[in-house]
Symmetry: C2
Subunit: 96 residues, 2 copies
Protein backbone atom coordinates (compact mmCIF):
# COMPACT_ATOMS: atom_id res chain seq x y z
CA UNK A 1 0.00 0.00 0.00
CA UNK A 2 1.59 3.17 -1.19
CA UNK A 3 1.11 6.01 1.26
CA UNK A 4 4.31 7.95 0.83
CA UNK A 5 3.30 11.42 -0.18
CA UNK A 6 -0.25 11.92 1.00
CA UNK A 7 -1.20 13.28 4.40
CA UNK A 8 -1.65 10.34 6.73
CA UNK A 9 -4.95 9.74 8.40
CA UNK A 10 -3.60 10.52 11.85
CA UNK A 11 -2.47 13.96 10.75
CA UNK A 12 -5.99 15.02 9.83
CA UNK A 13 -7.35 13.57 13.04
CA UNK A 14 -4.64 15.11 15.20
CA UNK A 15 -4.95 18.50 13.52
CA UNK A 16 -8.69 18.62 14.15
CA UNK A 17 -8.14 17.56 17.75
CA UNK A 18 -5.73 20.45 18.19
CA UNK A 19 -8.17 22.77 16.42
CA UNK A 20 -10.70 21.95 19.11
CA UNK A 21 -8.48 23.56 21.74
CA UNK A 22 -6.92 26.28 19.56
CA UNK A 23 -9.43 28.85 20.72
CA UNK A 24 -9.16 31.06 23.81
CA UNK A 25 -12.62 30.22 25.11
CA UNK A 26 -12.23 26.48 24.71
CA UNK A 27 -8.69 26.47 26.06
CA UNK A 28 -9.97 28.33 29.12
CA UNK A 29 -12.72 25.74 29.56
CA UNK A 30 -10.22 22.93 29.23
CA UNK A 31 -7.94 24.47 31.84
CA UNK A 32 -10.76 25.04 34.24
CA UNK A 33 -11.93 21.44 33.85
CA UNK A 34 -8.37 20.25 34.37
CA UNK A 35 -8.23 22.12 37.66
CA UNK A 36 -11.69 21.30 39.01
CA UNK A 37 -13.69 18.56 37.38
CA UNK A 38 -16.52 17.98 36.98
CA UNK A 39 -17.99 21.43 36.79
CA UNK A 40 -21.48 22.48 35.82
CA UNK A 41 -21.81 24.80 32.86
CA UNK A 42 -23.21 27.57 35.01
CA UNK A 43 -20.00 27.68 37.03
CA UNK A 44 -17.63 27.88 34.09
CA UNK A 45 -16.26 31.39 33.96
CA UNK A 46 -14.36 31.81 30.76
CA UNK A 47 -14.79 35.46 30.05
CA UNK A 48 -16.43 38.66 31.13
CA UNK A 49 -19.80 38.07 29.54
CA UNK A 50 -20.04 35.01 27.37
CA UNK A 51 -23.67 34.28 26.45
CA UNK A 52 -24.93 30.82 27.46
CA UNK A 53 -25.63 29.70 23.90
CA UNK A 54 -22.13 30.58 22.80
CA UNK A 55 -20.72 28.66 25.74
CA UNK A 56 -22.91 25.75 24.66
CA UNK A 57 -21.49 25.95 21.17
CA UNK A 58 -17.91 25.75 22.42
CA UNK A 59 -18.76 22.91 24.75
CA UNK A 60 -20.25 21.04 21.82
CA UNK A 61 -17.02 21.44 19.86
CA UNK A 62 -15.13 19.94 22.79
CA UNK A 63 -17.70 17.14 23.12
CA UNK A 64 -17.53 16.33 19.42
CA UNK A 65 -13.76 16.12 19.73
CA UNK A 66 -14.20 13.60 22.55
CA UNK A 67 -12.35 15.84 24.98
CA UNK A 68 -15.19 16.33 27.47
CA UNK A 69 -18.23 14.37 28.57
CA UNK A 70 -21.37 15.26 30.45
CA UNK A 71 -23.56 13.97 33.23
CA UNK A 72 -26.84 15.52 34.17
CA UNK A 73 -27.40 16.51 37.80
CA UNK A 74 -30.87 17.93 38.30
CA UNK A 75 -31.21 20.79 35.90
CA UNK A 76 -27.48 21.25 35.83
CA UNK A 77 -25.18 19.49 33.39
CA UNK A 78 -21.72 18.70 34.70
CA UNK A 79 -18.80 18.68 32.33
CA UNK A 80 -15.63 16.68 32.86
CA UNK A 81 -12.55 15.91 30.83
CA UNK A 82 -12.61 12.47 29.27
CA UNK A 83 -10.07 10.04 30.67
CA UNK A 84 -7.69 10.24 27.73
CA UNK A 85 -8.26 13.88 26.75
CA UNK A 86 -4.90 15.27 27.87
CA UNK A 87 -2.94 12.24 26.65
CA UNK A 88 -4.50 12.45 23.21
CA UNK A 89 -3.76 16.17 22.98
CA UNK A 90 -0.11 15.80 23.93
CA UNK A 91 0.22 12.80 21.62
CA UNK A 92 -0.99 14.94 18.72
CA UNK A 93 2.04 17.20 19.12
CA UNK A 94 5.51 16.07 18.10
CA UNK A 95 7.96 15.30 20.89
CA UNK A 96 11.73 15.39 20.64
Amino acid sequence: MIESISLEQSIEVDASLLAAVADPTRLAILRQLTATTPTCVCELSVGPTIPPNLLSYHLKVLRDAGLVETTRRGRRIDYALTADALDRLHAALPRH
Copy 2:
Protein backbone atom coordinates in the same frame (compact mmCIF):
# COMPACT_ATOMS: atom_id res chain seq x y z
CA MET B 1 -4.93 43.85 40.23
CA ILE B 2 -8.25 42.20 39.60
CA GLU B 3 -8.06 39.61 36.83
CA SER B 4 -10.61 37.06 37.97
CA ILE B 5 -13.10 36.74 35.19
CA SER B 6 -11.39 37.90 32.01
CA LEU B 7 -9.39 35.66 29.72
CA GLU B 8 -5.79 35.88 30.81
CA GLN B 9 -3.15 37.07 28.42
CA SER B 10 -1.47 33.69 28.27
CA ILE B 11 -4.65 32.02 27.11
CA GLU B 12 -4.86 34.16 24.01
CA VAL B 13 -1.18 33.63 23.30
CA ASP B 14 -1.34 29.89 23.90
CA ALA B 15 -4.49 29.49 21.82
CA SER B 16 -2.92 31.22 18.86
CA LEU B 17 0.21 29.12 19.24
CA LEU B 18 -1.93 26.00 19.09
CA ALA B 19 -3.85 27.43 16.14
CA ALA B 20 -0.58 27.61 14.25
CA VAL B 21 -0.27 23.83 14.36
CA ALA B 22 -3.97 22.97 14.22
CA ASP B 23 -3.86 22.45 10.49
CA PRO B 24 -2.96 19.23 8.65
CA THR B 25 -0.40 20.86 6.37
CA ARG B 26 1.40 22.72 9.14
CA LEU B 27 1.29 19.76 11.51
CA ALA B 28 2.87 17.65 8.77
CA ILE B 29 5.58 20.25 8.30
CA LEU B 30 6.22 20.36 12.03
CA ARG B 31 6.53 16.58 12.23
CA GLN B 32 8.87 16.45 9.30
CA LEU B 33 11.07 19.15 10.82
CA THR B 34 11.04 17.30 14.13
CA ALA B 35 12.32 14.20 12.38
CA THR B 36 14.89 15.78 10.06
CA THR B 37 15.94 19.34 10.66
CA PRO B 38 16.90 21.57 8.99
CA THR B 39 15.16 20.86 5.72
CA CYS B 40 14.91 23.03 2.64
CA VAL B 41 11.44 23.97 1.50
CA CYS B 42 11.84 22.04 -1.74
CA GLU B 43 12.28 18.82 0.19
CA LEU B 44 9.24 19.21 2.40
CA SER B 45 6.64 16.75 1.18
CA VAL B 46 3.43 17.49 2.96
CA GLY B 47 0.88 16.42 0.43
CA PRO B 48 0.31 15.14 -3.06
CA THR B 49 0.50 18.45 -4.88
CA ILE B 50 0.76 21.48 -2.65
CA PRO B 51 1.65 24.56 -4.70
CA PRO B 52 4.85 26.33 -3.61
CA ASN B 53 3.17 29.59 -2.72
CA LEU B 54 0.69 27.80 -0.48
CA LEU B 55 3.55 26.01 1.23
CA SER B 56 5.17 29.40 1.67
CA TYR B 57 2.05 30.73 3.30
CA HIS B 58 1.93 27.91 5.82
CA LEU B 59 5.61 28.29 6.57
CA LYS B 60 5.01 31.96 7.22
CA VAL B 61 2.30 31.13 9.74
CA LEU B 62 4.76 28.86 11.55
CA ARG B 63 7.47 31.53 11.36
CA ASP B 64 5.14 34.21 12.72
CA ALA B 65 4.30 31.89 15.61
CA GLY B 66 8.02 31.57 16.35
CA LEU B 67 7.93 27.83 15.82
CA VAL B 68 10.38 27.67 12.92
CA GLU B 69 13.32 29.72 11.70
CA THR B 70 15.18 29.93 8.44
CA THR B 71 18.72 30.08 7.11
CA ARG B 72 19.53 30.68 3.49
CA ARG B 73 21.79 28.21 1.70
CA GLY B 74 22.40 29.31 -1.85
CA ARG B 75 19.03 29.65 -3.48
CA ARG B 76 17.54 27.25 -0.99
CA ILE B 77 16.05 28.26 2.32
CA ASP B 78 16.40 25.74 5.13
CA TYR B 79 13.73 25.53 7.78
CA ALA B 80 14.31 24.29 11.29
CA LEU B 81 12.28 24.15 14.49
CA THR B 82 13.18 26.88 16.96
CA ALA B 83 14.85 25.68 20.12
CA ASP B 84 11.80 26.05 22.32
CA ALA B 85 9.10 25.21 19.77
CA LEU B 86 8.05 21.85 21.15
CA ASP B 87 8.32 22.95 24.77
CA ARG B 88 6.13 25.98 24.15
CA LEU B 89 3.53 23.86 22.38
CA HIS B 90 3.30 21.28 25.14
CA ALA B 91 3.26 24.02 27.75
CA ALA B 92 0.24 25.55 26.05
CA LEU B 93 -1.77 22.40 26.78
CA PRO B 94 -2.95 21.56 30.28
CA ARG B 95 -1.19 18.69 32.03
CA HIS B 96 -2.64 16.59 34.79
